[in-house]
Amino acid sequence: MPKDLIPTKEQFEGLMAWLGSSTEDPGDKYETIRRSLVKLFVWNGCLDAEDMADETIDRVMRRVPEIAIDYSGDPALYFYGVARMMLKERRRQRTISSESQSLELRGVTTRSGQSDDDEINRKFECLDECIAKLPADSRELILDYYQEEKRAKIDFRRQIAQRMGMDVENLRVRVFRIRASIYKCMEKCLGTIALVQ
């Protein structure tokens, strides 16, 4: 990135002050916006979602002195507007959806090498470790939740929810949280990419 495009400390402080005008915790707001940007780009098929999110934030940061004067409303929506423009720019440069289709997909060799086995074994070992770290009730719930076979699964969720005295929606949220904590633990154990965004 050219030097004059790297946001300065003052620009960053300006951004935080602007975010602080609509919330008590600008740091938390910043994190939420960044997470939303990353997912937005992922859901729009961008493989470099993290970079795109940072670029969006940089662009907004550079414009804060002008925006802050008369912008009213949630700053998050301004970020979304800029992100939308970046997606349109990206699509103009290369049609995201068609680029993968335009290249012929060749058959892949369905071989499983030793290192693939090792990797899967390692995942299981980490999973053992991470599940063991869960509180007993969470562990029991997540193992139950994943145990049921194929099509009976949705009814099974209802049964688990009933058994635990909660509705299916609350069960979904609880499982989502347990899974997020497993991802976080797996991230540490495997020493890999961030799984929780």
Binding site: W43, L47, R84, Q93, D116, E125
Partner: protein, 267 residues
């Protein structure tokens, strides 16, 4: 208007790419304006991956999930963990990876052992196939627009110059590469001194013979008065091992010549 956002199927439609541009825009605004809604979308994404693992989706939806929600390394990894979780639960959550499920231990029935082994092999192969297919897509996407401007942050690996016939290259040290953790894309650069082909096909193979992906109809890229065949590879696909880039040239009259293989090692 707001009721539709409460509808799980509407959220699924967004994630599966079924909303119109206008609907999509309104939906995404809601993602930014309402944190709880954002969490619900993330949760629905997880559940779609989960349904894919459980094979409860209709084929068309399963294809859309694979196409749209299993593109990034992070998404693929989460799919794999979900698959592992399911398998882990199926075997009763017993910690020892090497031991079969308890019900099979109790019966000692040989055909059940065989069945368990084949399920394990199928899972391993399934994970590998999905990862490889996804890698093909990633590579296609990364290489769709290869210009100097979008490659500056790549880690470059220059191979020996392209030769005009196949066969081992003498007195040539095999390039070796260490991929630092912060690198996301590795750029394999094959110098082409005499260009007599209008386009090139390149296949990256992990030795002994696992094809990672194939790129067709590549054009050469000019850089500092030299011409290169450039292949961009997601860094996390290059686990330690030996690799081979197999190159073919395509003439104007569509004849395809094998231009040999170029080896390198990732350590």
């Amino acid at each position: 208007m707001n009721e539709q956002y409460e509808d799980q199927n509407y959220i699924r439609s967004y994630l599966l790419g079924r909303l119109s541009e206008n609907e999509r825009e309104l939906f995404e605004e809601k993602i930014f304006a309402d944190r709880a809604f954002f969490d619900r979308v993330r949760m629905t994404e997880e559940e779609l991956l989960e349904d894919h693992v459980f094979e409860v989706l209709p084929p068309e939806e399963a294809e859309r999930v694979a196409d749209r929600l299993m593109r990034t390394p992070e998404q693929i990894q989460r799919w794999q963990i979900t698959a592992a979780l399911k398998k882990y639960s199926d075997r009763g959550g017993k910690p020892d990876v090497g031991t079969p499920v308890p019900v099979i231990q109790a019966t000692h029935s040989p055909w059940k052992w065989a069945l368990a082994a084949s399920v394990l092999v199928a899972v391993v192969i399934g994970i590998w196939v999905i990862r490889a297919t996804s890698l093909q897509r990633q590579a296609a996407s990364l290489n769709a627009s290869v210009e100097a401007g979008n490659m500056q942050s790549d880690l470059a690996l220059e191979l020996p110059a392209l030769r005009l016939r196949s066969g081992p290259q003498e007195n040539m040290t095999e390039p070796r590469l260490n991929v630092p953790k912060n690198v996301t894309v590795v750029q394999i650069r094959l110098p082409v001194e005499v260009s007599s082909y209008s386009r090139y096909h390149a296949t990256l193979i992990r030795e002994p013979d696992s094809t990672l992906f194939t790129l067709n109809d590549r054009q050469l890229v000019d850089s500092e008065n030299r011409k290169f065949l450039v292949v961009r590879v997601p860094a996390d696909a290059l686990v330690p091992g030996q690799y081979r880039l197999s190159v073919k040239g395509v003439t104007d009259d569509a004849r395809i010549d094998d231009l040999g293989s170029y080896n390198f090692t990732v350590f």
